[in-house]
Structures are given as structure tokens and as C-alpha cells.
Subunit: 358 residues, 2 copies
Amino acid sequence: MASLTAGNRRPVRLADIAKAAGVSHGTASNVFSRPEIVREEVRERVRAAAEAMGYGGPDPKGRLLRAGKVNAIGVATAEPLSYFFEDPFARVMMAGISRACDATGAGISLVSAANNEQLAWNIQSALVDGFIVFCIEGGSRLVELARERRLPFVALDLDSEDGSVAAIGVDNIAGAGRAARHLTDLGHRRFAVLALPFADGRTGLVSAEQIRVAAYAGTRDRLTGYLQELSRVGVEASKVPVYETANDVASTKAGLETIFAADAPPTAILAMSDRMALVALEWLNARGLNVPNDVSVVGFDGVPEAAVSEPPLTTIAQPIAEMGRLAVKAILESDGPVSRHQLAVELIVRASSAPPRG
Amino acid sequence: MASLTAGNRRPVRLADIAKAAGVSHGTASNVFSRPEIVREEVRERVRAAAEAMGYGGPDPKGRLLRAGKVNAIGVATAEPLSYFFEDPFARVMMAGISRACDATGAGISLVSAANNEQLAWNIQSALVDGFIVFCIEGGSRLVELARERRLPFVALDLDSEDGSVAAIGVDNIAGAGRAARHLTDLGHRRFAVLALPFADGRTGLVSAEQIRVAAYAGTRDRLTGYLQELSRVGVEASKVPVYETANDVASTKAGLETIFAADAPPTAILAMSDRMALVALEWLNARGLNVPNDVSVVGFDGVPEAAVSEPPLTTIAQPIAEMGRLAVKAILESDGPVSRHQLAVELIVRASSAPPRG
DNA sequence: AGCAAAATTTGAATCGATCCAACGAAAGTG
DNA sequence: CACTTTCGTTGGATCGATTCAAATTTTGCT
């Protein structure tokens, strides 16, 4: 019953069963791909031969070459693969992408790598019909790599103004402006900014010069949004400490230490990501500072965790799932011109912001 | 500068640039795959031709056929794709799988589908070197499909004793036993069980007969573990209501309604998943019953959410990430005999369990 | 220069299927 | 019965690369 399939390791090809069944490979192929056009008697004979020889159906590797389409989209990032399942932002985005793929029947290939060299190879050899590129850090390199494949691709959240690449992002300036406006409306006048990277590999307080030459336009735009709005109420940019982090726990805490070591510590913190904002909530609480009474905190992104933090976080919500959906659509319908979308964001007021004391 | 690559849609093949550069395909191929063995002058000529014609490097579709290896493993489930990013258990498992893949440089392909027909096709045509199959519901069909591909595959958490399929799971009997023992040690004598499905498509209190013919061995094993341990302290199996749910919010609540409608409601609940246990915590709280003082709850799985629930959940932790790691290892090193692993679980005592009142 | 050894390049074979024009046989038609 | 359709089958071409043994060119040495 168990037949000989166990130890047998020589792969069986369609041609083998065609010969065994005494038909041409063309007919054998039809038995699997369009069984209705093959005479029943022949069809059964071929199927029997396949069964007997332990043939598992046409190998997709072969079919792929003819068909051309893989029917899968690649999602690439310069982070390790586990990023997709552990980062809150990535997870929401992937959920959006998933739903769009489910709807169209496309599969998802996760492309990523520990080191940079491996990344290049992985992108070059990914079997996909197109790429969605997560541009967190090292976005430009990733985009370059994807572009070289000459497959349709969209950059998510791309920090670049290069109009020749399709990109989906949010209006960072307006979003940051909304956040700052919310705080100035509450009466705050002393601020500090927890910033995403302006360039790779450094953290710490940033100077005006460093901001001007920022590699990441997204970070710069958010800062611009903040500062524009603050200047409306007479808060000078030079008076607002901007601490650049690596968007991780350690550098965010270091930033908070620095910020609160000042003579006149801020009454409000503008964080460029919910991740940093959540770290701030924890840090402030451990430090005995009450949020929102001593310090208000406003995040950016709108990840689900922000709704259940202690206290719940006021933040700028990106339409993350919608961005994922649009990205898939852009790949699959990859028509003529490169499509660029800039989506609106929304201020969600929760309990982490309140008027300043006194 | 921008060259003619924009509107140009005719694909350029390696053979085209070989001809353009005046070399054979063999040499052209070497320029990309082993540039060091090609004379510099020739190499540059070929590269120039490639550049001029807008060639994006060797197409992996072609390479694949020769190479045989895709360098990616497929992760399959009968749920929609978003399951991978939304279900807590799946996320932890995927994180473990990701890390193992990162370490070995393999990619991940997510295979799934809305409907059953699509699923079959997706598995048949997935470009992967092996499958990791998530057996939640409909596991046996999935295993059957994967087996037909004649690729290495492992079943995670498989509810089946079929020794011919590689599987990685936990010791359900021992784990359930630990959970029950914890509660009996605390002095509990009145129990109720929230059970995972014994078979597809039904929910409600289950009879001894239904348990005996259970389709899912994992569910049966957990129940066996519970009841064995309870019988040690003289609690008869027939006195313990066992409510079969679909592991979702609605059916779990229905189960709780039924269970607590009884004359002598339980002082302790044994839930076969953290998901159900977390629903129970919420339901009990809404009902005005204090956990753990009025009712103790013990879950099963050890998802991260269980650590931060209110109150934190006592549970049986599966080594989820370790299972993922082992699964990848089993696929990539797919050596001789089918490997079956049964891992140990661990009781994690948190605040949802305490001695009964009085 | 003469010859063996080393370095490059060539081109046919292969990977595993699908597609399609052409062909043979069976069925239908006048 | 000759003649068109219809139905099924055949086998060569193709998808886009890699591989490797053999052919060719270079280099090294006396």
C-alpha cells in the first residue's frame, strides 16, 4: 500500500509518466492542466501511471518558466524577517497587504536579510511579480535594488522625493502639524521632539545643520510640520530640543534622559513614532512624572498598542491598512505611469495629552 | 541618461545581451554568476551591453529551473493570509520561524487562501523547497495536500497520530495534567473545561461518546490530561462539564453562559487555549465575578498577551518559538526518516489562579 | 621559436513544464 | 462512398537561465 515512494529520491518528471503511459508529453501535460480535453480512457491511464510512479503533479518550477507569472508579491525590508511579525507598524501594514492579496488570490513572499550582501542577492533572486518595499532605514538602497529587477514596485513610506518611483506615504508635514497644534491649543509652550533617524547610524541632539542635510525626507518633513506649527504660537525652533533616536528602546531612553536633564524640562513631547511615545510613557511613569498632568505625549503612526497603553496614547493615525491595500493594487494593476499617493492622517486624542500644570 | 528603459516592455534575455556583446551565452552567464573567471575586457563589454539594453540581471525564473532550489520555505494554513499577522499564537510561531530562516538565509512564502479550491492550487503551485503546515482546523486536508507535493514538510501542532508525517508538537497530556494539578493543589474540586474543537463545525457540551470519536487527537489529549489528573483527587469525569468551542469569542462566551448556569458553578476553569482563557477573564469580570478569588482560570499556549491581561493569566506555555526553529531545521536538513518531536511545556503561574473561597 | 600548462571561451545539453500547428482517426453529411 | 468536421494526439519549439567537456587562446619557460 505504502508503495515505493519512501526511499525513492530520483525525481519523477512529467515526461517519465508520459512514456510509462505510452502517450506524448503534450497529452500527459493536458491530463493535469486541462483534463477535459483528454479522452477518459487515456486520462485514467496517465493518472494511474502517475500514481504508480509517485508523481506529485506538474512541478511549478517548470510551469513558471512558461507561464511567466509567479502570482506572488514580494515584500522587502532591510530588517530581519522577524520584523514583519514583531514590529507593530509592520504587522498592521502586513495585515492590510494580506487582505488585499487574499482578495486577489496572490501569495506573499517575505524578502529580507540579516546582512546587506545577502539582501541584494535575495532581492535579485526573489520569485515574485513585484515588490512592496518597506522603507524604514536604508530605504534608498532597497529601492535601488528593487528598481534593478525591473519589476513593478511601490515604496511604502519612502523618504525620498524622487518622482520616478511609485510611492505611497502620508502627509508628514500636515500630520506633524496636527500633533503640534493639538498641544499648543492645550496651552503648551515648552516642547521636546523625539525624532526618527535623519541619517543612518547616529543618535543624539541634532543641530539645524544636520536637519538641513537630512537623508530622510520623512523625518525632516515631520520635524518641519512640528516646528511650523510651534512657530505660530511664538515658540522658536532653536528652543526646541530635537533628539534623534534609532527608534528603539535604548536610544529613546537616552534621549529622554537628555531632554529632562535640562533646566526647564518640556511639558510636552512630540514623538515621531508610537514606539518612541510608548517608551516615553513608561520612562516618565518610572520617573514619577504623571502623564498627562506633568507631561503630555503625542505619538505618530496609530498602531493598535497605542490604544491600550497606560495611559492610552494621543497620536497621529496613519491609514496603515489602507496603505497596504493600495500598495497591492498598485503592483497588480501596475499600469502605465508611476503612481504616487499621499494619504491623509488623523489626530486621535486619547488620555496622554492634557493642558500643562498651572 | 535615463535611457530607453521607461516605455520599453519587451523583456531582454541573457541571450540578447550575449549576442549584442558578441560572446556566447555561457560567457554572458559567467559575467553575472562568476565574474572572476571572465577576462576583464570581456566582462566590461558584456556589462556595458546589459546596461545599454536595460537588462536587470539574470531572471530568477530561468535560474530556478536549473538550480532546483528555491531557497524559500512555504508556511501554509487554511486560514486567510492575515492570520499570520493577527493571531497571537501564529505571530510568535512565525517570529521563531523567521529567526531560523534569517540564520540560514532562507526566505518565507506565505501560502493560504480564502476558499478551499484556491488553497489546493496555491499549495500545488507554491515555489518553495518545503512546507511548514499550521494545523489549526482542517489540518488533515492541508497535510494531504502538502504530502502530494512530495516536498519535505512538517506539521505543526498536528492533531493526528499518523506516524508517516513529520510533526512537531507538545506533550498535550502532560501539559494539561500540569494545569489541572496546579488547580487541584490549590484545593479546587469543581471544574469546567473550555475545549477546542473535537471535530469540525459543532460547539456545545460534549458527551463521553463524542470525546471517544474525536477527530482531533490534540484536543482529546488535553482533555485526557485534565481528567486523569482530576480523577487523582476523586473528581469524576462525568461531573466535569466540557464545552466545545470554535476557539472564538462568540462560542466561548456561549460556553461560559452554559457553564455558569449550573447549580454548582465551577471554581476553576481549564481553558485549552489562551484565547479562550482571555475571553473568560473578560466575561467573568463583566459578570462581576472576581478572578482569581471567585473563579480561577488556567489557559494553554503561553502567548505574550497572557502576560499582560487583567489579571495576568496562569497558563501552560508552549515553546512556540522553539517549535518554529525546529520546523525550519527539519525542512532544511530534511534527512532520512520523518522526524517527530514532542516538546515539553511549562506551567507559568500568574495571578489568574488562587485557592477557592472558603 | 617550440611546447606544455594555464586561462578563457564556446556551444550543446539540461532543467520541467506548456503551447500550438499539424496530423490521424472517427463521426457526420450529401 | 467521397468529403468535410470534429475530436484527440503528437512532437517540436519555447520559456531563461546554468553547466561542463571540449576547443581555443594566452602565458610561461627553455
